[in-house]
Symmetry: C3
Subunit: 262 residues, 3 copies
């Protein structure tokens, strides 16, 4: 029998022991759980960044994976705590918009509140639901509990973040920068599916006053230091610099405009 | 049969391969060990920070867990290397004060020196006992060796750090800042148990010239940006800023005074 | 039956989900794989640093371990993608010099191209072979596939980095700084085996205008703050500062001269 996978995606960092405490609690309940870190380096309270990260990582994991996602500035308030079945995988965390992107791509089959207190650690610390409430629920879920045991069904719609929309005209798009990764690759809110990919050579991208005259396939297709646009591994239009840092070069930040025409 | 858990808590960072080398050695001896990182980001040689981190994480782990703790500025000297049974869990590391906090909360049942060289990797590198001495001992312990096999019993008292004491008067306390976490939460040496928690509304906290007029329960109980005092997830009095960084706002550093009255 | 170990060594960082996506893919193919991070903090595109890190960590892992190493600035080009048997362990990654150091210490028994596309994830993203090509190959290898199934044998020599050579004279050596670790220890390209270690007291090391008059055994052999030279845990001559940061103190950077005489 294979080990059930539980991933952790938080803004706890790895300097303090918060993430490790969650692992200890999970393993105390289900010693066979396989805990995998997605990241703990979401910027403190950055729900949007957490939602994007979950969306990017989600499809790489096998069916049955339980994703515990804790970017939870409202811990302790009446914000809803939920568990949900999404496609063939599972989510445990606050209902604060962390599912915004995922819910556009995968059906949320069922969602339940986490008000059945027998699945919580006691006492529940009002500032650390990650350890005392979400981790134990995930561990019990991985042991075979049914979602419905954790609490009442969620009936109202889930929280959703305001996501910057792409302005679509005939043969042109106006989007914006959604994220910048470790390499300085500039990731936009424009999807590959928004673009006529059969003609990559004729697609122009403009950002921070720079125009890129074609869509490339990979970074080192151009000389070292060259700027380029491509569809990245998450399916979004990216602007990168071969063997360099595009965001630093272009002085681009999240929210800046990205314009495409063809 | 469940996998034995071995945690690692070090100041090795994660940029170099030191922590990974420890994992390789452990898995070479006990391929069934489940290695969990507590953190590797203790500041270099910061024994006090390591002792606090261990204390905070300890109770989240199940009985039988072996904690390998390496903040070891005196590696190579005659400082004692020990293994100890603490409550239902276990410790492997230098005897340099890393157990200071834990030993106040849990009985240290037995402690042994690590002088039985057949449990070490050979040759033992004088600058990397984490890999060549502590990791192999932990792995053999997880395989079922008895503590007494690792060396002679420790008879002298274990090393203890000088911990700043809380000055307790009737209805007031003077403590100090012990740590600052990733979120900028300011963690003091004052315990929740030092305070009359039945009356949180009447407890005043003063720090860096700011007075906080009640004890709160969670961060977002106040408007975004507000400063507040609460008992944090480790049971200590904390000063935090809702959706902000209290330590930066107040320009507080470790060792600064924290005053409480009621 | 023990779990097959797959290590990851990349320049992906841990803030983005790239490393986690690799783990998800591996576990989807072989749920029994034990994935161990060596590091994800190689500087972006720093092949030399990746090669050194792999070399240092390699021997700590047990026979059969599969090391997936992704520092791959030329992802998407025709640079070769290989899997290789090295000593009793295994390598999966680009052929761009990452094996430079390892190949001097261990025989590379067999190496194969990764052109058998049935072992890849489809479609293969041109910017993320780590997820779509190297991880699936490693997972299938850990399940028992033979190296020869992954593609054609490599016949031409593997890529090799230009490594700064030690200039050896009678009773003196001129080397250079190869790396600086988290503690500020300065790691040179001079091996312990280059030195007459039977007489450590008579070995002089000069770096950044400072002369160190003996070879020490461990850091705290000297007073706090003292500079010292020793053979570090990777077998290389290091210059360190007891309870301090030698690289900052001496303002040393990679490539600076290290001179030894005896």
């Amino acid at each position: 029998m294979t080990q059930p996978i539980i991933t952790l995606l938080t803004d706890f960092g790895t300097r303090d022991s918060y993430a490790a405490q969650m692992k200890g609690v999970i393993l105390g309940i289900n010693p066979r759980a396989l805990v995998v870190d997605i990241t703990h380096e979401i910027e403190p309270q950055a729900i949007m960044q957490g939602a994007m990260c979950l969306d990017e990582a989600f499809d790489a994991f096998p069916a049955g994976t339980i994703h515990v996602v804790i970017v939870d500035p409202d811990v302790g308030t009446t914000r809803r705590r939920i568990a949900a079945e999404i496609g063939s995988q599972r989510y445990v965390g606050p209902d604060n918009g962390l599912l915004t992107f995922l819910a556009r791509r995968h059906a949320i089959q069922r969602a339940h509140h986490l008000n059945a207190t027998q699945f919580h650690r006691h006492p529940v610390c009002a500032t650390f639901h990650g350890r005392d409430l979400f981790s134990p629920v995930a561990a019990h879920w991985s042991l075979g509990a049914d979602l419905s045991e954790f609490g009442d069904p969620v009936t109202a719609p889930l929280a959703e973040l305001r996501v910057p929309k792409v302005d679509k005209q005939e043969r042109e798009l106006l989007g914006e920068v959604l994220a910048i990764d470790r390499f300085g690759n500039i990731i936009s809110n424009i999807s590959g599916s928004d673009l006529p990919l059969e003609f990559p050579a004729t697609i122009f991208t403009r950002i921070a006053g720079q125009q890129l005259n074609r869509l490339s396939s990979y970074y080192s297709q151009h000389p070292s230091g060259a700027l380029l646009a491509l569809i990245g591994s998450s399916g979004r239009l990216e602007v990168a610099r071969n063997q360099g840092n595009a965001a630093e070069t272009l002085q681009v930040t999240i929210g800046d405009e990205v314009y495409v025409k063809w």
